[in-house]
């Protein structure tokens, strides 16, 4: 299978490392031979129809800060030209999320579909802005569209619901979907430390971004709830339909009061038909959603299976490559490979 990587940041690199590491496993276990025929970032592109040497690509891009430094690479804004012009089966859209416009990911995905290429993305922006449009465009163009990595990182939230729980009606989805805020709440709970102190610590550790607004105000979780509502509950929801409260006002004293009552405080996203919500909630200690550190956890409420919960790592390039690779294998199987 010929792949194009659009975006070569943490996730693009993580995926490349996984492709190197698992090359013989993919061939042996899945009969899949992935070949990255192009990689693009905001500064340029590297193209080789016979397949890029990923080890070399990682090395030169790591040093020069762009894939254009690869032998024969070109500089410039080349994403659209590569997506449309290079012969390939699957386009990986891995550029940073923009929740207002969905760009540049949104245009990348549309052009890839129009060019009859399957699309795998981790990018929440296009999914939040135009889920319905992309979903029907994929069907009209006869291509596969996968986005497991956009929610839950390594945790197979979408796949579990769509495939293994397909016989159920999903009544409600509740989850801890943001590792940064969960880390902050966990530290506040264990150390009785104030929010500002723990946030600074998280930033120093690289768990929180320099501008943590999207995480701590609950907007990142709201994006994921929007995606789950659209993809699993068949809703046509927008980000503005989610009622959002963040964790800025949660104080260590509040967590202590919660603990005295056998509970803890978690930032929970809740999706059910007619009501989408994100906010801090009291969760009983020992509950499947009372996970610590940067973990993510999701509980499905179902008509037949009643309750199913899963937990795992919600971020990190290596962990997320599990979902990105899973989507590729899934497409490979769907196409009869």
């Amino acid at each position: 299978m010929r792949l194009v990587l659009v975006g070569f940041g943490n996730l693009g690199r993580g995926l490349s490392r996984a492709l190197i590491q698992k090359a013989s496993f993919l061939r042996r276990s899945h009969g899949l031979i992935p070949r990255v025929v192009a990689a693009v970032d905001e500064f340029g592109a590297a193209v080789d129809e016979k397949g890029l040497n990923l080890t070399r690509l990682l090395k030169v891009a790591g040093k020069a800060g762009t894939v254009a430094a690869y032998k024969g690479g070109k500089r410039g804004k080349l994403a659209l030209r590569v997506i449309e012009g290079v012969e390939a089966d699957v386009v990986y859209e891995l550029t940073p999320t923009n929740i207002k416009t969905g760009e540049p990911g949104l245009t990348h995905i549309k052009r890839a579909m129009w060019a009859r290429k399957h699309v795998i993305t981790s990018n929440k922006g296009p999914l939040v802005v135009a889920f319905g449009e992309l979903d029907s465009l994929a069907r009209r163009c006869g291509v596969e569209f996968r986005y497991s990595a956009s929610v839950g990182g390594a945790v197979p939230v979408v796949g579990l619901a769509k495939e293994l729980l397909a016989g159920n009606e999903i009544r409600e989805i509740r989850g801890v979907l943001n590792g940064t805020t969960n880390y902050i709440l966990t530290r506040m709970s264990r150390e009785d430390a104030p929010f500002e102190v723990v946030l600074r610590e998280a930033q120093e550790l690289g768990v929180a971004e320099k501008d943590p607004t999207l995480d701590i105000e609950g907007i990142d979780t709201a994006c994921k709830i929007t995606i789950l509502a659209n993809s699993l509950l068949g809703m046509n929801a927008r980000l503005k339909d989610v009622k959002v409260a963040g964790i800025k006002r949660v104080r260590p004293e509040a967590i202590r009061l919660a603990r005295e009552a056998g509970q803890t405080i978690k930032l929970i996203g809740i999706a059910k038909r007619g009501s989408l919500e994100v906010g801090p909630k009291l969760v009983p200690l020992g509950h499947p959603l009372a996970v610590g550190g940067t973990l993510n956890a999701v509980t499905f409420e179902l008509d037949l299976a009643r309750e199913i919960s899963i937990t795992g790592f919600g971020a990190g390039p290596k962990e997320t490559s599990s979902s990105l690779l899973g989507d590729l294998i899934d497409i490979h199987r769907t196409l009869g490979g």
């Binding site: 949660v250 009061l257 978690k266 906010g279």
Partner: protein, 159 residues
Amino acid sequence: MELEDVPGQLLKALEPISRFGGNIQSIMHQRERKTPLGRIPVMLIFEVGDRARLNRILAALRARGVRVTQLGEREGAVRTTALLIGPHTDIRDTIDRLGALRGVGVSDLSLAMGGLGQESAARMTITTDNEKRASLAISNLQRIADRKKLLLIASLEAG
């Protein structure tokens, strides 16, 4: 119930309750309010799974000579915990508004003050007759919180 004022009476009354699976929530031993016959009124609140167990407990109490003078029942009491974060200058008003709803009571208020100039946290237990009332109480509390600019942290399981 009314108990004789001799040692061991309270224990005698409590034993059947725990033996038949009752969960005691509170005991009020009103020694200062002795009856004309010198008995001590005791108010007990306990939770029990079903009516058959309750009948067994009552029968056992009667067999032991414990006099049950008044029996009140509340079916399926639902308790939920909620936290409110913000300036709690009028927490009394919040509780009164919530308590004014039919079948809704507030017990167990705890306050944790923040540092100077910081918000404080209040935890309350809300008791209602059933699940529906509980979720009604929470949505009312949410409205009160919105109006007073408080952050409500409700239980995950509440409505």
